[in-house]
Amino acid sequence: MPVFDLSVTSLREFNSMLHSLAAGANDTAFEVVNPRGHHAVAVGIDAPVTVDIKGSVGYYCAGMNDGGNVTVHGSAGPGVAENMMSGTVVIEGDASQYAGATGQGGLLVIKGNAASRCGISMKGIDIVVHGNIGHMSAFMGQSGHLVVLGDAGDALGDSLYEAKLFVRGSVKSLGSDCIEKEMRQEHLEKLAELLDKAGVSGVRPEEFKRYGSARKLYNFNIDNADAY
């Protein structure tokens, strides 16, 4: 497996190598050592490659990932897997704010906690957080699933569209137009599938509550002005 030492190789060289991989290339698995909190590590991947990052990263790791499988063996700074299209990103430690922001597909797994605005403006991504998430998470979430095994902070799902939120622990408060919804069989099945994909064991889907949009803010009504 080719190893890139970011204390020696430039970030630009590493990222452009990932982008230049031809279809059918022999080497599709890479290891990164000494990431040292670099920003924008392994961004713009557009092939089914595997990248193991041995350490913690800064902002936007695996940003716009499209098909790659990236594992951070450490913690991730803000905006990890932002705007992900497809593939899988796993954070073994904690993730800072905006994790999975605007993601359109793929799976983001955070084995520790995620800070505020996790899944902000999510557009189809699935996010599973083993720990807790911070305030304003899933703000304006459009579609996809956010699964939280721990607790959620203030204003969960504020101004939510059609993203589905599942929280096993407590929710400090719900944001505007976000309500608890009935957990139906289809949701339990989806939840079981996501927990399985995220490597979670010993946790039953029935332990979660589901939250979603009340859809009262979809079309403007002056009598809802207090909610804006």
Binding site: R12, N15, V43, Y59, M64, G79, Q142, F220
Partner: protein
């Protein structure tokens, strides 16, 4: 002889004028603020308040049509491996598919390409038609990130990170349910028919230090090939320009309050932001203070209508301009040929601004297939190209008269101001004097 009391005509209030009274009644009846398209309609100091001096004994002119007056502009020469070169410094501003019909977007691409300039996507992503018909396409990176994906990022010629726009600095996009058709809803990943309110702030960065990292990420994703613009509304042009440069922008786009929008609150359009004229000199000053003037290019937009406006913006230090509203008019927006239909909508040609309702008789600001079909993208594109070429020629005419062999050689010294306000805002001496308000501490 009998005495008749002389008649005193009824007097209307200047404060509570007819428009104000009507707006109070409308708000009371409907319970919603007025939403509309376009830019400010109030009169503000503008390029009309500046004049060129022309040549004299101390400045000699160039022959019109005979001596060369270059109009090319290179954008993105600071960091991008592939800067873009345009034949004219007049570009087409970002306008979304969603706000505009597919035919209108195609026409913008066709017209810009014929004239040798760029066009720009908008809040809603890139369509194949638009990419196909645009030789040089700038891809907007907006807070909503609707339709944002790495494939389109890579097939763009430049990236424009939108922080704000002149019509609504501090506000996000708005697209009401009437225009969220199946295709628009699909591209934006939203339920059909909802009132879509885009975020006003980017979801994954706040402040200039984060922006610097965001620009670096976009450069890494695109292998440092694409020029990256940063677009701001006319609010604090000196600091916004300086911070955009600090964050690593190749190009700063500065949009004054006359700049249009597809839809937002009238109260926002009319009361937030600064006139374009007041934005240019502080931005140029910031670039000069940083030693980056002409290295980071400055694009000015908001109320550019003619070659004279272009020449004035460039003389004040801009490298290029962008047009939006004027481009739509060239396509056919607000054309009197549709007067009968404008009347049915309760308006008149020249005043129609309910672009958010999607009922545009000219077929431009609509998603209604029947209305959209009224706009022939080939003919409309040709009209836009004609207009762009006329404006370029007009700007050249003025530049030659000032003795300049490139539009970029125009300078503040070529101008005088007609009003105190314009003199102060543009830091151009009042006509017949060598003074402008603030100069020398007075």
């Amino acid at each position: 002889m009998s005495y008749h009391n002389p008649f005193t005509p009824p007097r209307k209030s200047a404060t509570f004028d007819d428009h104000t009274l009507a707006e109070i009644r409308r708000a009371a009846a409907t319970g919603i603020y007025d939403i509309r398209g376009a830019g400010t309609k109030r009169k503000v100091p503008h390029f009309d308040d500046l004049l060129f001096l022309g040549a004299s004994i101390s400045r000699y002119p160039l022959e019109g049509y005979r001596e060369k007056c270059d109009t090319t502009v290179v954008l993105g020469s600071r960091f991008a491996k592939k800067p873009i070169t345009l034949k004219t410094p007049i570009t087409i501003a970002g306008m979304s598919f969603g706000a505009l019909s597919g035919n209108a977007k195609e026409a913008l691409g066709r017209g810009a390409t014929l004239a040798g300039t760029s066009t720009t996507t908008g809040d809603g992503g890139m369509t194949d038609e638009e990419r196909g018909h645009s030789q040089t396409l700038v891809y907007q990176y907006l807070p909503s990130r609707y339709g944002m994906n790495p494939k389109d990022l890579r097939r763009a010629d430049a990236i424009e990170v939108v922080v704000g726009q002149g019509a609504k600095p501090g506000g996000g996009g708005m697209l009401l349910g009437q225009k969220i058709s199946d295709r628009v809803a699909h591209m934006r990943n939203l339920p059909k028919g909802i009132d879509q309110r885009s975020a006003c702030r980017h979801p994954d960065w706040t402040g200039p230090d984060d922006l610097e990292i965001k620009l670096m990420e976009l450069r890494e994703i695109t292998d440092w090939e694409k020029p990256i613009y940063v677009k701001v509304g006319g609010a604090r042009p000196y600091y916004d320009t300086a911070l955009a440069v600090k964050a690593g922008a190749d190009v700063v786009v500065l949009d004054g309050m006359q700049g249009g929008t597809a839809a937002t609150q009238d109260v926002f359009i009319e009361n937030v932001g600064m006139p374009t004229l007041a934005c240019i000199r502080p931005a140029v000053q910031a670039l000069q203070d940083l030693g980056m003037h002409r290295k980071v290019q400055l694009i000015i937009s908001g109320g550019i209508r003619s070659g004279a406006d272009v020449a004035k913006a460039l003389a004040l230090g801009a490298d290029a301009v962008a047009i939006g509203t004027a481009a739509l008019v060239a396509l056919g927006d607000n054309d009197p040929r549709w007067e009968e239909e404008y009347q049915k909508l309760g308006t008149t040609a020249g005043a129609y601004d309910d672009w958010h309702e999607g009922k545009d008789p000219a077929g431009i600001t609509t998603q209604d297939p029947e209305l959209a079909a009224r706009l022939d993208p080939v003919a409309a594109g040709r009209r836009l190209a004609n207009y762009l070429k006329v404006m370029t020629l007009e700007a050249q005419t003025i530049a030659r008269a000032c003795g300049k062999n490139h539009l970029h050689n125009l300078e503040p010294e070529d101008l005088c101001a007609l009003t105190m306000e314009a003199a102060a805002m543009a830091q151009i001496p009042l006509a017949g004097t060598n003074w402008y308000p603030g100069k020398g501490g007075y």
